[in-house]
């Protein structure tokens, strides 16, 4: 079965802090995604990529950077974290049909 892992699973930081969320997939999928999940908003796409070195802007990109270093690894960067970025973050990879989600990272910005 498809495997997507995320680290850390939980993170607490302060306003203005610097945070990096990591995602690794072992599915050999070209596409990878970062979402945030918030009650009342569902899953919203932050950034995505279709291969190493590629980055596509999602629907809610403000305040986030991302980098795809290899086919397996996709990182989400919050350089000046704000309380509005407190959320549950999911990474996913996809084949031509289905997206496979990681277990999520819960981020709290105080």
């Amino acid at each position: 079965e498809a495997a997507v892992t995320q680290s850390p699973r939980n993170k607490v930081t302060v306003t203005g802090g610097n945070v990096t969320l990591s995602c690794r997939q072992t599915n050999s999928h070209n596409y990878m995604y970062w979402y945030r999940q918030d009650t009342g908003h569902g899953l919203r796409l932050i950034h995505y990529s279709y291969g190493a070195g590629n980055l596509q802007i999602g629907d809610v990109p403000d305040g986030y950077k991302a980098t795809r270093t290899t086919q397996e690894d996709f990182f989400l960067l919050l350089e000046l974290a704000s309380p509005s970025q407190t959320s549950l973050y999911f990474c996913a990879s996809s084949d031509r049909v289905e997206q496979y989600f990681g277990p999520g990272t819960r981020l709290t910005v105080l």
Binding site: Y33, G42, Y50, S94
Partner: protein, 113 residues
Amino acid sequence: GDSVTQTEGLVTLTEGLPVMLNCTYQSTYSPFLFWYVQHLNEAPKLLLKSFTDNKRPEHQGFHATLHKSSSSFHLQKSSAQLSDSALYYCALRATSSGQKLVFGQGTILKVYL
């Protein structure tokens, strides 16, 4: 732009009763539609997709039919089970957008004895 609307935030019903979760969409192109399910403290995973070689998509007793005339892809099940309690997302992939999905707000289904 593309959008998905799930009008019910919460649906509660008794075990054994039929389930219907609403999903409507707007898209410039002819999209593919999906249902994802997320159980408590788990990741979302695919439940159904709209393209299945002319067969009605069905999984775990759930089914959905894509109606292009009404831009809908409602999720149905004839008899709810306690284990169906979860968060359900309807999602759209426009044929022009590569592999990008647009998700609805989600509907929480709670099934009681």
